[in-house]
């Protein structure tokens, strides 16, 4: 494992210098074994795959087609405090078998996500999945694709007007 390269990738991801990386972040990142070998940020591939299981392509685009992984990456690197981002990545690694999830077949992947989703709002819920699901939903439905295709968006609706649902067709953003 190329620890130096790994640190470098994490530094870019977390938007900080390697000197200021906290150990927890490094530990969390190191659990993504594949990230180092592929050199392409396994967490992004993982988040992308899970996003598309939650929001697949149907008559409207999927989560990854709407740029959700990029939003989540930005959220983790620019919004969350570093310790929280590390905690999230660590949790992700744990919930998805250090990234080995990606080598499973599609049906197995769906089953794993379905099980995590079924546990939401119960005592058994996985907090990292809960947060990830929230980010996927926000990331998708507030994206241009999600808001204008999966939902209805009208920036300047004009005066409030009662309509039949059939006339509108979908939920308003």
């Amino acid at each position: 494992m190329d620890r130096r390269r790994f640190l470098w990738e994490m530094a870019i991801f977390l938007g900080c210098s390697t000197l200021s990386l906290d150990l927890k972040a490094v530990d969390a990142a190191l659990t993504f074994k594949g990230a180092v070998s592929s050199g392409s940020g396994l967490h992004i591939a993982l988040i992308s795959r899970i996003s598309d299981i939650v929001i697949p392509e149907t008559d409207t685009p999927s989560a990854s087609q709407a740029g959700v992984p990029g939003y989540i990456n930005f959220y983790l690197s620019e919004f969350l405090p570093r310790d929280k981002a590390s905690e999230f990545l660590g949790g992700l690694s744990e919930a998805f078998a250090q990234g080995e999830f990606l080598s499973l077949d599609a049906a197995q992947q769906v089953n794993i996500v379905q099980a995590l989703d079924d546990a939401l709002n119960t005592e058994a819920e996985n907090p990292t999945y809960k947060k990830l699901k929230e980010l996927i939903v926000i990331g998708y439905y507030t994206s241009r694709v999600g808001a204008t295709q999966a939902l209805r968006y009208d920036p300047i609706p004009g005066p409030y007007k009662e309509m039949k649902l059939a006339e509108v067709g979908r939920t308003w953003l």
Binding site: I55, F74, V110, L120, V137, P157, G158, K161, E162, K164
Partner: protein, 562 residues
């Protein structure tokens, strides 16, 4: 500018100050408006019209900003689109001896840029309550005195509303009301049948439903139901100083508006017994300046006006200008709130709407009207509305895959929510004062808040919750959830009092014309002047008092009396 003599100085450019400036400028007075906030010209609203995907965090505010706005971040409009309209708490500290949430604007236009826009007249009882139940000091003003000034203010502001003929909520001069939707129309029938003393009417809001000539002349047009108001609205479709009063003042050629000017003190001349002007700090350069005028109007917002007046110390007034009897800073009030209920409305699943309506339903006060209720003094009203659940449930809801997407793509059930706003009592011991040693970075002594609610407010909030639930029950709603919030004073952002209107100098700060008893050319016309708070949203009443005070000051100046 230092060499120029003005007729009038108005401190603050929000709901009261903006309107004062308009009135003075239109009467021909050279008017200087000073505002501590940064300049925001109408139309220069940097987040207006931005879609969520154009915001890096889709509206979430980065932690570093929240850390600098640790008070403001709790306000209901706070997000990445609006945060620049709210003050930086680190730069503008205050001390809470008892908890008080002080929401403050960071811009010219003050809270008029970010207000809730609900606009209701006070009723006759509101002006008589202090006298009737013995709390606070009696207003030397009655509804009849102020009604003509509502008549003057409302058409300029542009208020949509329905004519109801209710004593408890007097009608004004309205633009067409916002529509009730199908769910609300049915609920109205059921609730009014079950409770004949309760009225279920369209919210009255400062939105142009049908712009008139005077609105169009200022470039203000019809509301487009974007519901992005606190970002600023280039349509001028809701009233703000920025969109209406300040442009109206500016076109007279009589307005000088200075932003980034933190007024610290009203200057006083012992020999003449008059205010001569104000001292302020340019918050960008730190430069200290003095400006002079014949008359000074304090419209800096309730607590800020009191803070400045307390800091206006002289040999004649060591405890603040015009404050010989420790009346300044007393009787601080806010609307007590947090009580209400929500519930699911069965059915109506074929019905939907277009547009984000800027106001829903109002249920005016019904307690202690006609007969005494017994559990508490005074009363409360409800702001309400019915709408369908959108996609937000999905953030924490279950589901994945195609079925999940399909479910999110269709709106959920109809829900109806009611939020109470109650009239808190004026209490002498509820006060603000200056910290003896601590100052902000520009040298202004910090304000200390020592304000708390009492048993009357607790009983009222409890009653709000119970009556809301009972009305939803009567209307046939399901899953009814009553709530009883415990927001500290300031939470309703309707803070009032501190420089109260009254009859004598020993017990009040202002006379019935908003004029300082002891300093005849000093007026306070923002919320600080209020000796009680009614239970309705206060802004248009601030404006009506301001218009009346300007008219009075005009006459006094013409007669050479001030």
């Amino acid at each position: 500018m230092n060499n120029k003599e003005f007729d009038v100085i108005v401190v603050g450019s929000g709901m009261s100050g903006g309107y004062a400036a308009k009135e003075f400028c239109e009467k021909g007075y050279k008017t200087l408006v000073l505002d501590r906030g940064g300049m925001v010209k109408h139309g220069q609203y940097k987040t207006e019209g931005k879609a969520p995907w154009q915001m890096p965090l889709r509206g979430d505010v980065p932690e570093e900003f929240k850390a600098e706005q640790h008070i403001q971040k709790e306000v209901y409009i706070y997000n990445d689109y609006t945060r620049h309209h709210l003050i930086n708490d680190k730069d503008h500290p205050y001390e809470q001896k008892k908890p008080f949430i002080w929401y403050r604007s960071a811009t010219v236009g003050g809270k008029s840029l970010i207000w809730g826009r609900q606009s209701y007249r006070w009723n006759k009882l509101d002006f008589e309550s202090n006298k009737r139940d013995g709390n606070g000091i009696d207003w030397p003003v009655r509804y009849e005195d102020i009604a003509p000034w509502y008549d003057r203010v409302e058409p300029f502001v542009g208020i949509s509303g329905s004519y109801e003929g209710l004593d408890v909520l007097p009608d004004g001069k309205f633009l067409p009301a916002l529509p009730l939707n199908v769910v609300e129309r049915d609920m109205k029938k059921k609730i009014e049948q079950t409770f004949p003393d309760r009225h279920f009417i369209p919210a009255r809001v400062a939105h142009l439903t049908q712009p008139q000539k005077q609105h169009l002349e200022l470039g203000r047009v019809q509301c487009q139901a974007r519901s992005e108001c606190p970002r600023g609205c280039s349509f001028g479709a809701y009233y703000s100083s920025n969109s209406a009063a300040l442009p109206a003042a500016e076109r007279t050629g009589n307005l000088t508006l200075v932003a980034d000017a933190q007024v610290q003190e009203v200057l006083y001349d012992k020999a003449s017994g008059r205010a001569t002007g104000v001292a302020y700090v340019d918050v960008r350069s730190g430069e200290r300046k003095q400006v002079f005028a014949k008359t000074v109007f304090m419209c800096a917002s309730t607590l800020a006006s009191v803070q400045i007046l307390l800091n206006s110390k002289s040999e004649s007034f060591p405890d603040g200008i015009g404050n010989r009897f420790d009346v300044l800073g007393r009787y601080i009030m806010d609307h007590c709130g947090g009580g209400g209920a929500s519930g699911l409305v069965p059915g109506y699943l074929e019905d939907y709407y277009k547009g984000r309506r800027p106001g829903g339903v109002y249920i005016p006060r019904f307690r202690n009207i006609g007969k005494k209720y017994g559990k508490f003094e005074r009363g409360y009203g409800f702001q309400c509305g019915a709408s369908r659940a959108g996609w937000h449930w999905a953030k924490s809801g279950k589901g994945i895959g195609k079925a999940f997407k399909e479910k999110v793509s269709q709106p959920g059930n109809w829900y109806f929510t009611m939020w109470g706003f109650g009239e808190s009592l004026p209490r002498y011991e509820n006060r603000v004062y200056l910290h003896p040693t601590k100052k902000d970075k520009w040298g202004m002594p910090l304000l200390v808040t020592d304000v708390a609610y009492g048993e009357n407010e607790s009983a009222m909030v409890k009653d709000m919750s119970e009556t809301a639930a009972e009305m939803l029950e009567a209307a046939g709603l399901k899953n009814i959830r009553p709530f009883e919030g415990e927001a500290p004073p300031g939470g309703a952002i309707h803070e009032m009092g501190g420089a109260c209107i009254g009859r004598e100098v020993e017990t009040s700060y202002l006379n019935k014309w908003n004029q300082c008893h002891d300093v005849k050319n000093l007026f306070v016309t923002d919320g600080a002047a209020f000796s009680s708070v009614s239970c309705v949203n206060p802004s248009i009443t601030f404006m009506a008092f301001t218009a009346r005070a300007v008219d009075y000051a005009d006459q006094q100046m013409k007669q050479g009396l001030i």
